[in-house]
Subunit: 497 residues, 2 copies
C-alpha cells in the first residue's frame, strides 16, 4: 500500500519552478470552468501521517485556487450540536454545492481510525464505519461528485526525523503538539490500521492517492497534477452520456392485488369516541416528551400520503400536544437552488433534530421514489439506488437513538375526489388545490405501484412503515397518535418493543 | 419488507391455466436466445421460509426450462473439500457459465443467516458476511451476470398452518422435518434477522424479490414473470452500450521516480554461497511443510515478473524441496473457452489448495491489471475495479488461513535483452521466446506503470508484495525461498509476525 511512498521522491527547485506556473494557470482555468458551469462538486479528503504535509497542502490549495470557490473544513472534535446527530451529519452540512470545492482535513475516516488505534472500538466497529463510508462515497459519486482522497505518508524513520526537525525550528515548533508525539508512539499500530482502512476504502470510483510526504515540492506538484487531471477528465466527461448498470425491472403483481388494495379503508371512529381518545393520547404524548429520558432520544416523523389524505390535519393533532420549542414541522416542496446543488438527501439531513426534539416532515426524502420516479424527474437507476441509500440514511438515524416513524395516509380515489371538490368550493380551502393535484390523480395506478414498491423496499425492522386508512379523518388521526406514542415509549424503553 | 407478502395473494385456476402456456413459451424462447447467444450467465437464488414453496419453485423452473441449460445446486452442509477452502469456494465452483442458468437453493446468505439465528455468530459477523455478499454480487453483475434473488415468505400463522397441512398429508409428510419445526420455533428471530439481511443486501443492481408463498399458482406465475422480464430486459440491453462510472485517472509520478526504478537490481550472490544457502533453505522449507500444524494452513504463491525474469527457475527451487503430493504448479496462459465464460477470477478459485497443500501460480489473477490493462483486453473501468475485487479475494484467502506470498521478479531492460538473445541462440530454450515477448518489450514503460499501480493498490497488510531484484538469478532464488519460509513460519505462528 505504502511502498511507492517510501522511495524518496524528490523534485529539484529548478524543475519545480519551471512546472509550477503552468500548473497553477491550468488549475485556475479548470476551477473557473467548474464554477461557471456548476457541473459538479469536488470533495477533497486530506488524511495521513502527522508531519507529512497535510496542512501545508491545504494551505497551498487555498493559495493556488480562487478562494471564493473553495472551502476548507478542519474537522476536529465534534461540537455539542454535532454529537447530538448521527456522526455523518457534520460532513453533510459541510458538503460543497455543485461548482465548488470542499476540502476536508480530518474526514469520515479520521475518528474510526483513531478510535481503533486507541482501542476505543474493535475491528467490527471499524469494519462497519469503513463500509458506511464506502457506501456514502458511492452515493456522492452517483450524485455526480468528484471525490478525491489524498493520503500523505511518511515511513517511521522519516516521521521521527520530520517531527524532530519541526520541533527544532522556532518558526515551525508550534506545529508539533504533544498529541503528535503520542500518535507517533503508536506508529506501528497506526500503520496497520490505516493499511486496512485504505485497502477496503480504495474503490474504483473513489480510490486513495497515496503521496510521499517528505519532499514538499514533490508532494505539492503531485497533488496539483492529480487534482488537475481529475478535474479535466470529469469536465470533459460531462459531455458524454454516463450510463450506469441497468436497474432490474420491478414486478407488477400477477393477481393485481397489492398492499394498498388490501388495506381496509372503511375503518372509522365516531365523534365522541374520537374526542375522548384524542384527549387521552395528546396527554400521553405530552407526558412522554417530558419524560426524563426523552433528552436521550429524538423523534423524526415522516408524513406521506395521497393528496388531500389529511397529512396536515394529522400533524396538527401531534403539534397540538407539544411544547412549541420542542418541535419543527418541515414542509417539503420543490427544492431550493441551494438544495438542488446538493445530493438529494442533503435537504433532509440539515433538518435533523437535536436530542430531546421532534422533527415532523410533511412529505420527505421518499419524494425520490414517489413523485420523482412517477414524473420521470430522475433516471431509473437513480431512484432504484435510492432505496438502499434511504435505508442507509435511516439506519444512521436509528443508530443515533432517533425514533423514526413513517406514515402513509391512504384514501380511496372516490374520497379524494370528494375532498378535491370540497376544497374548490370552500373559499379558505381553495389555495390547497391546484392543477397539479388533478394531474397527479390521473396517474393514480403509477403512484400506487410506487407506494407499494417503496413500502416493500424501505419498511424495515428498524424503520417500519405504518399504513393509515384515512378515508375517515378521526380514525386516521387516532391511529397516528397511537402509533407515535407506542414508538416513543419503545424508544424510551418504557416497555418491550 | 414483508408487508406485500402477507396480503393473501391468490390466482384462480382458470386464470392460471390461461396465462401459463404463453408464459412457458416465452420463457423457453428467452432461454433459447440466451443459450444460443451465450450472452450472460443467470444466477438465481432461492431463499426464504420453510414451507413457502422453495423446492416446488425449483422443481417448476426445471420443468419449464430446457433442462440442458439449467443446473440446480442444493447447498446443504459443506463437504470436507469445501470446508478446507474459503466459504465462497463452493459457490464459485458452481457458478453457471455464460448462456446458462444456475439455481442456488441455499445461497451465500443461508449459513450466516442461520448462524445468526442460532447465535453461533454475532451481529458483527453477520454484517461482515452481508458486506462480502454485496461486493460479490456487484462483481458478478459487473462481469455481466444477471443475478435474481427470490425470497419466499409466509407469515407466522401461515407457516404453522402450512407445516401442519404438509405433515398431515401422507404424500407430502416427508417434506417436513424435525429441523423445519425447530426453525419454526425461532420464527420471530428468523424474521428479524432475515429482515436485516434483506434490507442491506437489496441493492439497485441485485434486489431481492419477496414473494408470498401461500398460493402456489400466484407464486409460480410471479416467479415466471419476474424471470421472463429480467431475461428480456437484459437480452435487449446487450445491444445498447452499458457504460459505467468513469474511473479516475491514475497519476504518473511528477519526478519520474517509481518503485521499480528505486529497486536496486545489482544485488547478487556468488555460486558457493548460493549453494550453501539453497541447501539450508530447501531443508528448512521441507521441514516446515512437514510440521504438525502445516495441516491447518495452506500456501498460495504468486509469481509475476518481467518476461525471462526467472519465474520458472524460482518455482523449481521451491518444488525441489517439496513432496510431489503436496503441491501444484498452475501455469497461467490464455484462458480456455470454459474459463472465458466465467468471471475472470473463476479460473483461480478453482485451483485453491486444500489444507496442508501448496499452489504455485506461474502468473496469476494479476494479469487483469497487467497484460489486460496494457494491451487493452478489458475496459478501463474493468481493470480499475479489479484492484478491490482482488483485495476482496485475497482477504478471503487469508481469512481461511491461507499463507499468500506474492513475488514480482524484476530485471532490467538490458538483462532481459541478454536473456532473450540467449534463448534464441540456444536450441532447447528457443521455445521459451516468442514474437509476443519482443512486442511486450516495446511497451516497457506502460508495463512498469501498471506494476507500480498494482503494488500500490494490492500490497496490503494481509498480503504484501515482495519485489525481487532478479538480474542475478542466485540472489533472486534465495530471496524467494527465504521470504516463503519466513511467511510460512509466521503462518504457523512459530514466531511473531
Amino acid at each position: 500500500m505504502f511502498e511507492s511512498a517510501e522511495i524518496g521522491h524528490k523534485v529539484d527547485k529548478a524543475s519545480y519552478e519551471k512546472q509550477l506556473p503552468a500548473l497553477r494557470e491550468a488549475l485556475l482555468e479548470a476551477q473557473y470552468d467548474l464554477s461557471s458551469s456548476g457541473a459538479f462538486p469536488v470533495v477533497i479528503l486530506i488524511g495521513g501521517v502527522d508531519g507529512a504535509g497535510r496542512s501545508e497542502t491545504v494551505g497551498l490549495l487555498n493559495q493556488w485556487l480562487d478562494p471564493r470557490h473553495i472551502e476548507t473544513h478542519g474537522m476536529g472534535e465534534p461540537s455539542d450540536e454535532e454529537r447530538e446527530r448521527p456522526p455523518m451529519w457534520r460532513f453533510w452540512r459541510a458538503l460543497p454545492p455543485k461548482g465548488e470545492t470542499g476540502v476536508f482535513m480530518g474526514s469520515w475516516y479520521s475518528l474510526p481510525l483513531i478510535d481503533r488505534v486507541y482501542d476505543r472500538i474493535k475491528n467490527a466497529g471499524l469494519d462497519r464505519a469503513i463500509a458506511r463510508n464506502v457506501r456514502f462515497e458511492r452515493m456522492l459519486v452517483d450524485e455526480g461528485a468528484l471525490v478525491l482522497k489524498f493520503w500523505f505518508h511518511l515511513s517511521k524513520d522519516r516521521q521521527e526525523k520530520r517531527l524532530k526537525a519541526l520541533s527544532k525550528d522556532p518558526r515551525t515548533r508550534w506545529r508539533v503538539t504533544e498529541r503528535d508525539w503520542e500518535h507517533f508512539s503508536r506508529y506501528d499500530k497506526f500503520f496497520r490500521v490505516s493499511s486496512k482502512v485504505l485497502r477496503i476504502s480504495s474503490t474504483a470510483h473513489a480510490p486513495w492517492y497515496i503521496i510521499e510526504g517528505e519532499d514538499e515540492r514533490y508532494r505539492s506538484l503531485t497533488v496539483g497534477q492529480i487534482l488537475l487531471q481529475n478535474l479535466r477528465q470529469r469536465l470533459e466527461q460531462r459531455a458524454a452520456p454516463v450510463l450506469s448498470l441497468p436497474a432490474p425491472p420491478l414486478p407488477v403483481a400477477v393477481d393485481n392485488l397489492h398492499l394498498l388494495k388490501a388495506l381496509d379503508l372503511s375503518a372509522s371512529l365516531d365523534k365522541p369516541r374520537y374526542q375522548t381518545q384524542l384527549e387521552q393520547l395528546q396527554g400521553r404524548l405530552n407526558l412522554l416528551t417530558r419524560h426524563r429520558r426523552f433528552g436521550d432520544i429524538s423523534v423524526v416523523c415522516v408524513f406521506e400520503g395521497n393528496d388531500a389524505a389529511g397529512k396536515g390535519g394529522g400533524i396538527r393533532r401531534i403539534t397540538g400536544a407539544l411544547d412549541a420549542r420542542r418541535y419543527q414541522v418541515i414542509p417539503i416542496a420543490a427544492p431550493t437552488d441551494e438544495e438542488k446543488a446538493q445530493p438529494y438527501l442533503w435537504r433532509f439531513w440539515r433538518h435533523l433534530p437535536r436530542r430531546g426534539r421532534l422533527t415532523l416532515f410533511d412529505r420527505s426524502w421518499y419524494g425520490r421514489v414517489l413523485v420523482e420516479r412517477v414524473e420521470g424527474y430522475c433516471a431509473e437507476y437513480d431512484w432504484m439506488r435510492a432505496y438502499s441509500e434511504i435505508n442507509d440514511f435511516e439506519t444512521q438515524l436509528v443508530e443515533q437513538n432517533i425514533v423514526l416513524v413513517k406514515f402513509w395516509l391512504a384514501v380511496s380515489q372516490e374520497e379524494q375526489l370528494k375532498r378535491f371538490q370540497e376544497r374548490e368550493n370552500t373559499g379558505f380551502k381553495r389555495y390547497k388545490i391546484t392543477q397539479e393535484d388533478w394531474r397527479n390523480r390521473e396517474k393514480w395506478p403509477a403512484y400506487e405501484q410506487a407506494v407499494c414498491d417503496m413500502v416493500d423496499r424501505t419498511s424495515t425492522e428498524i424503520a417500519p412503515w405504518t399504513l393509515v386508512p384515512a378515508n375517515d379523518k378521526n380514525y386516521a388521526r387516532i391511529k397516528i397518535l397511537q402509533t407515535l406514542c407506542d414508538r416513543i415509549e419503545a424508544g424510551l424503553k418504557l416497555r418491550k418493543r
